[in-house]
């Protein structure tokens, strides 16, 4: 029954509460709270944050009550202590907050693990916890069972556990300091949900059905979920770059091989922002391929009509069966079903649908380019001709040169990224204008990622800058372009900004309101966070 160590974690608000409770141990200064040198073995007076120097032996038991009271009184709960052989005295919450790293690094004796686990669960109180005196450091009461240890078979099942033989995660929570990196969601999407600002434990797996960080309440997981997801949660915890995912295990944790999180080196020179791997700059990728197309539209219409038919048939069948049933039972016949009319549109809005190509230009081009045309249709009064990449130059030459077409001007050329598409990645469109005939035509080509397209500069010189822009923004290369360099972005820009995977939040984006940051804590956190991400936010000093 003694407190061996006491230390102050980061985040002290210098409130003096602890000094009021236990003046022998705590000394609150202007900036921080110290553990007094008088009370410590090493005699230093500081926060004792890293060293966790021990208290003097004579004080260990005498001041216990006062220290516990001070820790309880701390409004931000940064006072932590190690208590030995005092299992009853501690609440589970206090236990769980005790430092886990000690136990992870210390050589652990199997028997003690057992006791520790028992203590943590509060189920084996009858077994006295015996500290092994000669071996230092003293194994503390464990909050978290390190998963990578050879432990004995699990301890007594309780009624909560459906299958006593199987280990499970009892609780999981996220400590302060999450950098919303999405790593945990990738490892264990059923448990974690990473938002813009924080990481949540999903409601579906929790006993209380809330979706929070579970930081304070530490509510338990549903037993069956805890059992099912044990591997993935441990993986996520190990994979967390800032180690804020904590959990409690019931039983013997499985051995999970996790590749340790790579410590990202802080760039020494000017900032380097790798937008692809930057953990908190992930973007939501589109799931659909909105490529306007007559085929797709017709298929959808057909499917919708078929579904409608099927529904109607089912309604009728239901009605028939209900009718016969009613007749046999002698009740009133039910009302016959009424086929639902299409919804009436009372807006001034009529979504344009694609229709078959009727325009003579399209028909003419389809004749000329036999086999090269994938499809041709009209929508919103605009003509679209989709051709195979091989036939592109031929198409453009026909469009410009053919006496009945005469599309003299390439008004616009641009591309679109379809990451969700099969078989192609980009569509490149050419908006052709015939000045003499007041007509417009859109030629569309589908391109794979990395596939080179023939340049249109020889046919339409105006394509020069537009193709440079497409190259700059999408990374599509054009064969035969006179000067295919970046045009809007700097020459050394990395990535292609208009691709869908390119993030909209970038380096320098403020996600911390620095106006509120009077003490500079947030700024320091941001620097640290950026450092973890491989960004050097520190302004290089002038020579």
């Amino acid at each position: 029954m003694a407190i061996t160590k006491v230390w102050i974690e980061e985040g002290c608000i210098v409130c003096n509460a602890c000094e009021a409770e236990c003046p022998d141990v705590f000394h609150v200064t202007e900036e921080s709270c110290h553990i007094k040198g008088d009370s410590r073995k090493d005699g230093h007076e500081n926060e004792n944050r890293d060293e966790k120097g021990e208290l003097k032996a004579d004080l260990q038991s005498s001041l216990e009550a006062a220290i516990v009271a001070a820790a309880a009184a701390c409004p931000v709960e940064v006072i932590k202590y190690e208590q030995v052989a005092s299992v009853e005295a501690q609440t589970p919450a206090a236990v769980s907050e005790a430092e886990p790293t000690v136990s992870q690094t210390a050589p652990v004796i199997d028997a003690d693990i057992d006791h520790a686990v028992d203590a943590a669960l509060g189920t084996a109180l009858n077994v006295p916890a015996v500290p092994v005196a000669p071996i230092a450091p003293l194994p503390p009461v464990l909050a978290i069972v390190p998963p990578v240890i050879a432990a004995k078979p699990p301890v007594p099942p309780t009624a909560l556990i459906p299958d006593a033989a199987k280990p499970r995660i009892a609780k999981v929570w996220i400590e302060e300091g999450c950098i919303v990196c999405n790593a945990c969601e990738a490892d264990s999407p059923e448990v974690f949900h990473v938002t813009e600002t924080t990481c949540m434990i999903k409601a579906a797996v929790r006993l209380d059905g809330k979706e929070t960080e579970n930081r304070v309440e530490k509510n338990g997981l549903k037993p069956e979920e805890g059992e099912r997801l044990i591997t993935s949660i441990i993986t996520a915890s190990k994979g967390c770059p800032v180690d804020v995912i904590k959990y409690e295990v019931l039983g013997d944790a499985p051995l999970v091989e996790v590749k340790p999180h790579d410590a990202v080196e802080v760039a020494a020179g000017p900032y380097i922002f790798d937008y692809v791997t930057a953990p908190n700059r992930q973007v939501v990728m589109p799931k659909t391929v909105p490529l306007p197309s007559l085929h797709t539209y017709q298929e959808e219409q057909k499917a919708a009509a078929a579904a409608d038919e099927a529904k109607w048939a089912k309604q009728q069948a239901d009605f028939e069966s209900a009718k016969t049933k009613a007749v046999t039972e002698g009740k009133d016949a039910p009302k016959p079903p009424v086929r639902a009319l299409p919804k009436k549109n009372d807006n001034d809005m009529e979504s344009p649908a694609p229709s078959e190509a009727k325009d003579p230009d399209l028909l003419h081009l389809m004749d000329l380019l036999d086999g090269k045309v994938s499809q041709a249709f009209e929508q919103s009064g605009e003509l679209t001709l989709q051709v195979h990449p091989d036939g592109l130059v031929e198409t453009l030459m026909f469009c410009k040169g053919d006496a009945s077409l005469r599309y003299e001007m390439l008004a616009d050329q641009t591309a679109t990224h379809y990451p969700a598409a099969d078989g192609f990645a980009f569509s490149v469109v050419y908006q052709l204008t015939s000045i003499s005939r007041s007509k417009r035509l859109r030629v569309r080509v589908l391109v794979k990622d990395g596939q080179e397209l023939e340049s249109a500069v020889q046919i339409y010189p105006s394509a020069n800058w537009m193709e440079r822009e497409i190259y700059d923004m999408f990374g599509i290369r054009f064969n035969g372009h006179p000067d295919l360099t970046r045009i809007l972005c700097p020459e050394d820009w990395e990535g292609y900004p208009l691709r869908k995977e390119y993030p909209t939040l970038g380096w320098g984006q403020r996600d911390i309101d620095f106006r509120e940051d009077r003490s500079g804590v947030l700024m320091r956190m941001a620097m640290e966070k950026a450092g973890n991400m491989g960004i050097n936010l520190k302004v290089p000093k002038a020579d």
Partner: protein
């Protein structure tokens, strides 16, 4: 003998006459331009990427900031493009008011061009005269939508508000004296010998080259091609308006000057017609609360003061954002012609050529 070498000089991005942050790398032999490479991107903000992550309503705000001297035209292009994407029918009164404001905006844009172009060539006074009238139109915009420069004047489906009381009087007061103002500019410039010497035969671009390079707007019309989207593909209320397309055969800086002056007169005519024939009725179409697009792909071009301003939209099924938005910026395409216009000519002609192309760097870089 003597060794000569070309001097490489950077015109811009900080230079009084590059109208923003245009940088032109010039190789000079004495004062003769041997090679001219426009370098752009100093004002690149990624408007297209931003608009892909904004709803159709929010994106319009960004169009104000592309060609910031012709924001009403940009708003019109955006609004009509989105309306085409959704298949919205806009009330006739809204079309008329839109047309009127867009034409007033054409006047402001051309006035700003006239002032700065004349200033580049050394005639200082026109600049201040032109800005005097431009102020009045900006006040008209302010009366209509509360903003002078970044207007966001229109809404998808029509207008947010009808014209305010007293608006018509204000516009008519401006209309009454504007033609005299154009005459005033003409007195200063049109028959001025130095002005003619500086502009006639300078920065030539014939119609074939212009069309091949995609050059549109007054620059193309001054080369003799009467391509005006207001006539070729009528939009808004232009189909009902009576106006002429100003063209000149010469294809030089002076011709562009005359074309733009004539366009101001025609814009004046159109504004008068809009005021006279303003129909009664609602100004906003009936729309659902949330606009969700179907899969569609449209390219809608309007005749902005600088040329063909096209908006390319791709709609996603049920999407509230455009899946892809692309601006066909007239300044960007027209600037391609700069090298062709000035190579082999003098340094002072580069300035005249940049001025006569009427580029706005906010639109070039987007």
């Amino acid at each position: 003998m003597f060794k000569t070498e070309e001097m490489e000089i950077n015109l811009g991005p900080q230079h009084p006459s590059t109208h923003g942050v245009l940088r032109v790398k010039l190789h000079l032999d004495g004062e003769t331009v041997v090679r001219c490479v426009p370098m752009i991107g100093y004002l690149h903000r990624g408007v297209e990427k931003i608009c892909e992550n904004k709803t159709f309503f929010q994106g319009q705000v960004w169009t104000d900031r592309t060609d910031y001297v012709a924001s009403v035209s940009n708003n019109l292009g955006w609004a009509e493009g989105v309306e085409k994407l959704f298949g919205i029918t806009v009330p006739r009164r809204a079309h008329y008011i839109r047309t009127m404001l867009t034409e007033l905006n054409r006047i402001t844009s051309h006035l700003l061009w006239l002032g700065t172009h004349a200033l580049d060539i050394g005639a200082m006074t026109v600049f201040l005269y032109a800005f005097r009238e431009r102020e009045e139109i900006l006040s008209i915009f302010e009366a209509f939508c509360g903003a002078r420069l970044t207007t966001t004047a229109f809404r998808i489906g029509g207008l947010r508000e009808d014209i305010p009381p007293g608006f018509e009087k204000q516009v008519r007061a401006f209309q009454a004296r504007f033609l005299d103002c154009i005459d005033e500019y003409e007195i200063l410039l049109t028959e001025n010998r130095i002005w003619k010497k500086r502009t006639i035969g300078v920065a030539m671009l014939n119609a074939e080259d212009a069309i091949a390079l995609g050059v549109t707007g007054p620059v193309l019309r001054a080369a003799g091609s009467a391509y005006d989207i207001r006539k070729a593909f009528p939009y808004a209320a232009y189909g009902e308006m009576d106006f002429d397309v100003a063209t000149q055969p010469a294809g030089d800086t002076y011709a562009r000057y005359l074309v733009r002056l004539e366009e101001m007169r025609q814009a004046h005519r159109i504004v008068n017609q809009c005021l006279d024939g303003l129909p009664e009725g609602p100004v906003m179409a009936k729309l659902p609360k949330v606009l969700k697009s179907e899969v569609n792909e449209i390219y809608h071009a309007i005749e902005a003061p600088k040329g063909e301003l096209g908006y390319y939209f791709i709609g996603e099924k049920g999407g509230v954002n455009p899946y892809r938005m692309h601006i066909r910026a007239p300044s960007f395409i027209n600037l391609q012609a700069l090298s062709k216009m000035v190579e082999g000519r003098l340094l002072a002609d580069v300035i005249a050529a940049i001025g006569t192309l009427d580029v706005v760097l906010g639109e070039v870089d987007r």
